[in-house]
Symmetry: C3
Subunit: 297 residues, 3 copies
């Protein structure tokens, strides 16, 4: 039997996506989640700091009745001079039933799967992908719009955002209409057009068509080059979402954590009634339960 | 239904105090604690370093069969520039069944409850309160003195001690006779008299009435101002409990961790037979089980 | 009833060793490990950084159905000025069912047992012993050689290696033929001869008899004196295992983490087919399950 994985949105067929999303929505509705009587042992490897995602995965695993073993790499063998590959070989030799991994290196979940064929979930790899975030965003969208094809704007630091990459792939697969709003220094148009030739590009938040959803991205200060940092002031001026941009009343999404007054104005965060930001966090737990169920099958 | 909380001793009626204390004493007696078959998910948030209290709460939760998710704020979103309030909103959007929180800011558990109405236990907030410590101290006292009204001395850095504040409130409610022993620089008499007008104040350990219990406090070096630090030598000379002070054989309590030879002489710690310090630690686990049961009702 | 402990290989009789090893091998074979319905509470104290051993013990405990409470000493009371002994008294007053401890101080697990008589496993104490590593190594040897008396070489930094000390004790008890390969600066011949007068000493990897197993040790850079560090270049030249040393095709063992190109050449690590290194990691989990079962009896 082949081990299952979600290292990228591309790993999933339309049927699998639909099945995972529907299961997540069922988990959310049911108040009395039954726990497994065959608990699995799940290694939770976070090689980059994260609160929301680590906790969300840990909670999802425990809600299903599984055991979570958090592997803290900061106080790990790596500090004793072992290579990353040797550490991974060691951990996987202990035969966990599944691996959840966040790493700052692009494609490392994919490479680990290629070598070890272990059930694996990508919890974010560098600037590449964050497939469970895209899937949970889809759950939230589906819980509001059902099967309607929506118009969604994705705005900000597209280039360094694994969230954007996974969302563009996923929403494209499902034929939603995607508008990209970003300055040139946060955009790699060529790359994106390979994913979806119908993407519509905008240089400003001011003259957008009527959107169902606007998804703002975190500016990934920790991943951008010094060169791009010099653009930050101009970015804040032109691309920080304020109440004026929201006259058409789209739903607002953001993967968090938010840089207040960089990508979204504090007034929007504290008063805009159509924000879905905390619903995304809530949905994340149920979606990750569904993803765990999927790879542990 | 209203969520329950213990953010302060003031949250509890006499009946509730008695019920929690009695349940803790029953937990201590029973060797075969039955675990719940409906495990809850408890977030354990410690924003200040702590061994004994973190572990005590984690063990209490697990003894009851619940899931504990430790939230480590040092490697959290806070380091990515998210505000404390946004992080709390995020965590609580994941819908834990209860929150245990220690924070260096006074009243933060209260404020979180006001906003989110989630079952919450205060595991120590700044210099304000540490209600589960006072309740466990009461359990230890009750296990020795039953329903007798006792004479208890509380000595040391009252001003910066959340343990003292919760104990003075709790023991006052129950009409025990409280003697406060402290230098002026570790005392806010006005504040204390508001809680209980019958407090008896002393300036020295030498001429005390016969006490049933003497409770020494940790000098909170990390919380006191530079000014007060200059008093440390004079404090050690006058208020460090030694064997001479114990001629009347009171029981000795201390919330730990002890600064040896600052608030208690090492000889006392290593030889005094009526020390209850480790019994307090032991009782802490059972008392916290009872508190968890209380808020999860 | 007396609490059981494995603080040293010397704690175990031949019968107990055999019983633990056989149980570990049974655990490895059985696919459907039944969990206890009386979970115990195990404190996992790691006062030295470690990935493989911490995780291995945590996984072993959870596979048996027990609760693990990781005690992180870096953010502990120790930083608030409490002594190590006071912290241990505190932790043990919470009455965990067992203690797993790694400490950089020799004999601290033994000393804790002497004082507290609590079920305890030594997960490595300074340069003294690492008994569960020796036991798991024995499991791997037994899974290949059954009851044959083997010829085994142990090579490298014997002096600072707790793994070597436990292995020499254990293999000597069982009358295997032990060859020690080490430079003088990594050797305390007198000490070793006290354990086993029949040890055979070699000064080079080049002219060894035909061995069944060669066990390489990690050079414990973090434990060796400045003086010995100056020998590192000469050590690498003379004692780094390469393919030329393996013409007789012995099985290769190493406790990990490996310093590539210091004690073992990368080519050996990446191509030698008779390496048991990852099988040791795998076996470690089952052996530790058996050790936990032993002390919790």
């Amino acid at each position: 039997m082949v081990s299952r994985k979600i290292t990228s949105v591309d790993d999933l067929s339309l049927k699998e996506i639909s099945s995972i999303v529907n299961k997540a929505l069922r988990f959310k509705k049911s108040t009395n989640q039954k726990k497994t009587n065959k608990p699995k042992n799940i290694f939770n490897l976070f090689l980059e700091a994260s609160t929301r995602t680590t906790i969300s995965f840990e909670l999802a695993s425990k809600k299903l009745g599984h055991n979570v073993i958090n592997v803290n790499f900061e106080k790990s063998s790596l500090s004793k001079g072992e290579t990353f590959n040797d550490t991974m070989d060691t951990l996987i030799s202990m035969k966990p039933d599944a691996l959840i991994i966040r790493d700052k290196n692009n494609f490392s979940p994919h490479e680990i799967y290629q070598k070890h064929k272990i059930p694996i979930l990508n919890a974010g790899d560098g600037t590449n992908e964050h497939p469970t975030q895209a899937l949970l965003d889809l759950c939230v969208i589906k819980s509001i719009f059902k099967d309607k094809k929506i118009k969604i704007g994705i705005c900000g630091d597209i280039k360094h955002s694994r969230v954007a990459h996974s969302n563009i792939k996923l929403l494209s697969k499902l034929n939603h209409e995607i508008h990209i709003i970003a300055p040139n220094y946060f955009l790699d148009k060529k790359e994106l057009t390979k994913i979806n030739r119908k993407l519509v590009f905008h240089k400003s938040l001011s003259k957008l068509p009527k959107l169902d959803v606007i998804m703002m991205l975190r500016v990934q200060k920790e991943r951008i080059s010094k060169n791009a940092k010099s653009y930050m002031n101009s970015f804040k001026k032109d691309f920080c979402l304020n109440l004026n941009h929201l006259k058409n009343q789209p739903y607002l999404m953001h993967p968090g954590p938010v840089n207040r007054n960089i990508e979204i104005d504090s007034k929007v965060l504290d008063s805009y009634s159509k924000s879905l930001i905390l619903r995304q966090v809530d949905m994340g737990v149920y979606l990750r339960m569904a993803c765990l169920d999927f790879i542990l099958k």
